[in-house]
């Protein structure tokens, strides 16, 4: 059975097939520490300065401003639970091979933001800071010591006037084929003979996520109240662009699922009211979801950190079939969610920050994982990137035990 086939069987709740061995990913510092602690270093994750599309290589200028030989501490290496390529994050192979985990899901590399992309512009660089404008038109600052994901300073959608200009120049539907990378024909050949799950969408493409990404969170929150028609126009425009792109993709290659990035919830629940979710998000999710389902793409996975309990039924109403990563410290309980939503596909749900607390705690938090694995439709992994406080010894114990648990249920 290929990984792609296994993914479909697991997502279809087939109890005869065991789940998938993925993690969400690992911070750069985590990997450095694990290599020092004995993780065999055979294929150190690679950084690249090559820009293809915002989907694959957003943030690449920041990650590589200090060179390409060493992973910045705050970058993430992908480990399957989140797709690759995204955000110029490299793919891990050493942890995967050491623990005999599964290969990663992949994301179709196509431009889903502004086309043509913005030119990367470096505004200033010191020993401490790298300030630049990325291919999505957002001006960001990267702090070299902390080396975490760059922080946005200015956004390309500033008001209706700037939006209308961007819409005319970079979001029209006359140049859909320009959104595909130069090596698209070769990628199609590869995708057609693949053995991994392949998705469309991904970061930063969502119906709250993209507006927040391109307008700024604080501005968007005000616009929901003060400029609702403008917000609708923005979301509707991107919906139509994505529909056109996905139609083109699907004319050439079969897709396994759609990844929707929102990050709309935090520790206290949804950032916006459920009425706002209904008005500004659900109709658009449904529009694309219905189209994809008509083309045989039946798995729709939505990514939102934090406490998403109140959002689950709304997103399911719009056609979402699964969610992740079920952040435990924000109150997400996979046993409770499985009981309430028996058909919701779930990924994540393991308290990543507790792995370092040792064997007793690991055994404790794996007990509910075992219970949910029995029900199917679940791919267990840490509820976000594994942080540096998780030492290699404890991660080894946790991962080995989890792998054994996964193997128990099905072939």
């Amino acid at each position: 059975m290929t990984l792609r086939e296994r993914f479909h069987e697991v997502m279809n709740f087939n109890p005869q097939v065991h789940s998938i061995k993925w993690e969400f990913g690992y911070w750069g510092k985590t990997l450095h520490d694990w290599y020092s602690a004995g993780l065999p270093k055979k294929r150190y994750p690679k950084l690249s300065r090559t820009l293809t599309t915002p989907t694959a290589t957003l943030y690449a200028p920041a990650w590589t401003c200090q060179g390409v030989d060493k992973l910045p501490n705050g970058i993430a290496a992908m480990a399957g639970g989140l797709y690759h390529p995204t955000q110029a994050f490299p793919l891990d192979s050493d942890v995967r091979d050491h623990f005999k985990m599964d290969d990663s899901q992949r994301l179709v590399d196509v431009n889903l933001l502004f086309c043509p992309m913005f030119e990367v512009k470096i505004h200033s660089e010191t020993d401490q800071k790298f300030i630049y404008t990325d291919v999505d038109g957002v001006k960001r600052v990267f702090l070299k010591d902390e080396a975490t994901i760059p922080t946005s300073l200015e956004w390309p959608i500033k008001d209706r006037r700037s939006w209308e200009q961007l819409k005319a120049e970079r979001l029209n539907l006359n140049n859909v084929k320009d959104r595909f990378p130069a090596n698209w024909p070769q990628r199609v050949v590869e995708y057609k003979k693949r053995n991994y799950p392949l998705a469309v969408g991904g970061y930063p493409h969502g119906f709250f996520g993209t507006p927040a990404h391109l307008i700024g969170y604080e501005n968007l929150f005000q616009w929901y109240c003060l400029e609702p028609d403008l917000v609708h126009d923005i979301v509707n425009t991107f919906t139509n662009v994505w529909l056109a792109v996905y139609e083109e993709v699907l004319s050439q290659v079969e897709i396994d699922h759609w990844q929707v990035w929102e990050d709309i919830s935090f520790g206290r629940g949804s950032m916006i009211s459920l009425d706002m979710v209904r008005e500004f998000m659900l109709p658009y999710i449904k529009k694309i979801g219905d189209f994809l389902k008509s083309k045989g793409v039946k798995i729709i996975l939505l990514d939102t950190d934090g406490d998403c309990n109140d959002l689950i039924p709304l997103f399911m109403e719009a056609g979402v079939t699964g969610m992740y990563p079920f952040e435990t410290k924000c109150g997400m309980d996979i046993v409770k969610v499985r009981r309430e939503y028996p058909q919701l596909q779930m990924l994540g749900g393991i308290p990543k920050s507790d792995i370092h607390l040792g064997k007793k705690r690991i055994d404790e938090f794996l007990e509910p994982v075992d219970r949910v694995l029995k029900t199917g439709g679940y791919i267990p992994f840490g509820d976000h990137f594994i942080p540096p406080e998780v030492d290699f010894e404890n991660f080894s114990y946790y991962r080995t035990k989890l792998n054994g648990m996964i193997d128990q249920y099905g072939n």
């Binding site: 501490n73 705050g74 600052v141 702090l143 010591d145 902390e146 975490t148 922080t151 969170y217 604080e218 929150f221 005000q222 929901y224 109240c225 003060l226 935090f266 520790g267 206290r268 629940g269 949804s270 950032m271 916006i272 009211s273 706002m276 934090g306 920050s353 942080p387």
Partner: protein, 222 residues
């Protein structure tokens, strides 16, 4: 309470900034916080009465709703905007001493962290509760907090962090401040934080939401 103050309070709670503002739809075309605060002053209502009987209770109500999950981030921001529109009419009275602020609250996002939305919301809500807010911005190290304390000796300090990597920087800032000013009160907040972390680093209070910070600050009001 006068009808003007009652309407002003309603505008703050609902986020009606001014007459031109389209929000909330039910109040379209009506005077907003900007116009009503000016009218209240023109009606010779004392500025401290406007602040303490209309504005602060309204912000407190929306803050409570947010704490209870009945109001959301856009509601907080738009109410704070309405509050700001009203406060611009009261600023001269703070300067003249006709209104005394409850005290100084120095806030910043800690070094290595550039996220500010949580800090900004807390700043707006605390200012709406009658405090003078000195916002140091983002990526703020211990030395800037110490300079702020020298300038505002009786201030309460607020530290914000959004990342698990940067929240650890709070510890060194708390230590630096407490080493020089052992009795300085420090409030901490941010997505990755917890009560346990607050105690571990020696801060005085952890608040998961802005209204919690306001309630905590009441005991230190001048």
């Amino acid at each position: 309470m006068s009808e003007t103050l009652r309407k002003l309070s309603e505008c703050i709670e609902c986020g009606k900034i001014n007459k031109a503002s389209p929000y909330p739809p039910a109040m379209k075309g009506l005077d907003g916080a900007d116009e009503l605060c000016k009218r209240a002053i023109d009606e010779q209502i004392k500025p401290d009465v406007i602040l303490n009987e209309s504005l602060i209770p309204a912000m407190s109500r929306i803050g409570e709703k947010f704490s209870q999950g009945k109001a959301f981030v856009p509601d907080m921001i738009i109410s704070a905007k309405a509050m700001t529109a009203a406060m611009k009419h009261l600023r001269p009275f703070f300067t003249s001493g006709a209104i005394k602020s409850k005290g100084a609250f120095v806030i910043g996002t800690v070094s290595g962290d550039l996220h500010d939305i949580g800090k900004n919301i807390v700043s707006m809500v605390v200012e709406g509760a009658g405090w003078e807010v000195i916002d140091l911005g983002v990526d703020v190290g211990a030395d800037k907090f110490l300079q702020a304390v020298e300038k505002h000796p009786h201030c309460v300090i607020g530290l914000s962090a959004l990342l698990t990597t940067t929240m650890n920087n709070m510890e060194s800032i708390v230590k630096a401040v407490k080493d020089r000013y052992p009795n300085k009160i420090i409030v901490v907040g941010g997505a990755p934080l917890s009560e346990a972390f607050c105690q571990k680093i020696g801060a005085n209070f952890y608040s998961p939401d802005p209204q919690g910070a306001v309630e905590f600050l009441k005991q230190f009001a001048a």
